[in-house]
Amino acid sequence: MMVLTRKRNESIMIGDNVEIVIVDVHGDQVKVGIRAPRSIAVHRKEIYEEIQAENVIAAKTGPDTLSGLGNLLKKKK
């Protein structure tokens, strides 16, 4: 992995059209700005991992039938 040291308001280019800007630094928190074409998806790594883990749980835990589940919702309305 390449490691670069940057100061506030300095940036890093990845290829020709992705720019990572260090917007602010506060203690152990870094605010990062990302300038990228619309076609490039930018997400926190954690959210992707969370979705993956949740999908695995969803695939494993489904009941045999959903009959009656709808009634639970009606009671709350």
């Binding site: 949740e54 835990t61 009941p63 589940l69 709808g70 919702l73």
Partner: protein, 154 residues
């Protein structure tokens, strides 16, 4: 055509109903063809059944059916582009539900719904920009929060 499904065993489906999810469901990238299985007794829930892996099926719910217009998904440019649309309202959305042993504790993933085009049946599990949506919302509480009871019995 006949397919094997997790909830109902062998069922007959219409080929036109097959949803092509090119990138798969996140974590299950090898399954790319799905079909929605709905029966009246299970409404408003459905199954998103894989055609490639009969044992793989997700419980899903149309978020608008349970949360009404309180659900306001904001899709990012890459997701819209991948689906070939300009606005979220051109898409059919289903959220994946986790139903534990006590179904009252079921949770719904509002952050990453499965979106597809009704006609073309091309789909993707998208990641919404909405910071307020998480992968795990308790569905019953969420309904109460978003749809305040009008009071009185139904």
């Amino acid at each position: 055509m006949k397919i094997n499904t997790r909830p109902f065993g062998e069922v007959e489906i219409n080929e036109a109903d097959i949803i092509e999810i090119k990138d798969g469901i996140i974590g299950f990238e090898e399954s790319t063809r799905f079909v929605l299985l709905s029966i009246p007794e299970e409404e408003p829930f459905s199954w998103l059944q894989s055609l490639d892996e009969p044992a793989l099926a997700f419980v899903v719910v149309n978020p608008y059916a349970v949360l009404s217009m309180a659900y306001k998904p904001r899709l990012g440019g890459p997701d819209l582009e991948a689906l070939g649309v300009t606005k979220a309202d051109q898409l059919i959305l289903y959220c994946i539900v986790v139903v534990p042993e006590n179904p009252a504790n079921m949770t719904v993933n509002l952050k990453a719904p499965v979106a597809f085009l009704e006609q073309e049946k091309r789909g993707k599990q998208v990641i919404l920009l909405n910071e307020e949506y998480m992968v795990r919302h308790r569905l019953l509480e969420e309904m109460q929060k978003l749809l305040p009871s009008e009071g009185g019995d139904s």
